[in-house]
């Protein structure tokens, strides 16, 4: 039998592990969580693109034309594709989680989770159609 020289009878050592930096790679649920968190970076990037567009618009026709030209470059299109994928992932994961945060009651009955999720998707769909309609009409 080995003897632990650090041992003190009345104050025995507790063993404590530390969380490794890459704690999230071992489990699919954790990986999905980190991905969901990361998607917010792309949401932010996209918000910046929009702000930048407003700024360009404010600078006059010439700047705005430059901005529009940049939008057509492969880099910009690539960025938009990637951002779109991540933003869709972001929206879907959050819509599916929504019922956890939102407990609605109709009278004494709790509105079922599925209904809340479907309502979210419906709102998403309707808003997207409205925005597309405004854009395409212009």
């Amino acid at each position: 039998m080995t003897i632990n020289t650090q041992y003190t009878k009345f104050r025995p050592q507790r063993y404590q592990t530390r969380v490794p930096i890459f704690w999230w790679v071992h489990k699919w649920a954790h990986l999905r969580f980190i991905t969901r968190e990361l998607t917010s970076v792309f949401v932010a990037i996209y918000a910046f693109v929009l702000l930048f567009q407003l700024w360009a618009l404010n600078q006059g026709a010439e700047t705005y034309a430059l901005f529009l030209a940049w939008l057509r470059t492969p880099i910009s299109i690539g960025l938009h594709m990637v951002a779109l994928l991540f933003v869709i992932f972001h929206s879907i994961t959050w819509f599916n989680l929504a019922p956890k945060a939102l407990v609605l009651r109709l009278g004494t009955k709790r509105v079922p989770d599925a209904v809340l999720i479907v309502l979210n998707y419906l709102a998403w769909g309707v808003l997207s159609v409205v925005i597309a309609w405004i854009m395409l009409k212009a």
Binding site: N4, Y15, V19, K27, L97, K100, L102, V103
Partner: protein, 247 residues
């Protein structure tokens, strides 16, 4: 036909070793045996020095929580067969200091629970002559789910935030706060929110959601925390838009 299964159990005997080691035991694989039965078999027949906690062996006392192949489970409610052909790695709950073998130190957890004031707080007690505080079945449903917690701490082992930020009050404590907040007889929500809106409270949670998945009683602590956040945000907006309102 497989007749035995092997258990790799994490041993930590502070008088002997400064780091845990793994020890293998071969136990009968019986259809009706849960992991806890296997541990009891080892203790009775193979190695009396193995230490672990248990009491009710029916998913009520919450003392037999351990990691089985990396997932926090109640060992009295987890059948050996699900892991066949094995081996099963049994470890103490993670995110807690280990005292010995499969026994963890839960004192921090108890302190956190107490901070939530888990009792009915009244601004003014009504006199005894007025009788009890009444409650309708609907008012009971409002919080009942959160009252089912057995303090097994599986949610603390499942929560990566608890591991990263040991000060975080954690899933069970916040669900317990909600159990009283949603109780119509209670008036202590403000006091609890004071504590929970601090650094170690609800905003530490990033909604990984694993706590609700491992919960053996379907308490849904993740939901409890998110509802708290929504309510706190609504409060904040209300105080911003209606500064003259009754605070």
């Amino acid at each position: 036909m497989q007749t035995t299964i092997s258990l790799e159990i994490q041993r930590y005997r502070p008088e002997q070793e400064s780091e845990p080691v793994y020890q293998s035991y071969e136990v009968p694989l019986r259809k009706d045996w849960v992991i806890l039965d296997a541990l009891n078999y080892i203790k009775d027949n193979l190695d009396g020095s193995l230490s672990y906690r248990w009491s009710c062996r029916m998913g009520v006392c919450g003392s037999c929580g351990m990691m089985a192949n990396g997932t926090p489970v109640l060992t009295c409610a987890t059948f050996l067969e699900t892991y066949a052909p094995g081996p099963i790695r049994v470890e103490p709950l993670i995110n807690f200091p280990v005292i010995r073998d499969l026994i963890i130190d839960m004192s921090e957890f108890i302190t956190k629970l107490k901070q939530m004031k888990p009792w009915i707080v009244r601004e003014e007690e009504q006199p005894l002559s007025d009788g009890e505080y009444l409650q309708t079945p609907d008012q009971l449903t409002e919080y009942k789910q959160y009252s089912m917690c057995i303090n097994c701490m599986l949610c603390y082992a499942a929560c990566p935030i608890v591991g990263l930020e040991p000060g975080f009050l954690g899933p069970a404590a916040i669900a317990l706060a909600q159990r009283y907040n949603f109780d119509n007889r209670d008036q202590g929500k403000k006091q609890r929110t004071e504590i929970l809106k601090e650094d170690n409270g609800i905003y530490e949670c990033t909604f990984v959601g694993e706590c609700s998945i491992v919960c053996p009683k379907s308490v849904d602590p993740a939901g409890a925390i998110q509802r708290y956040k929504v309510a706190a945000a609504a409060e904040w907006w209300k105080s911003l838009l209606l500064p003259w309102g009754n605070r």
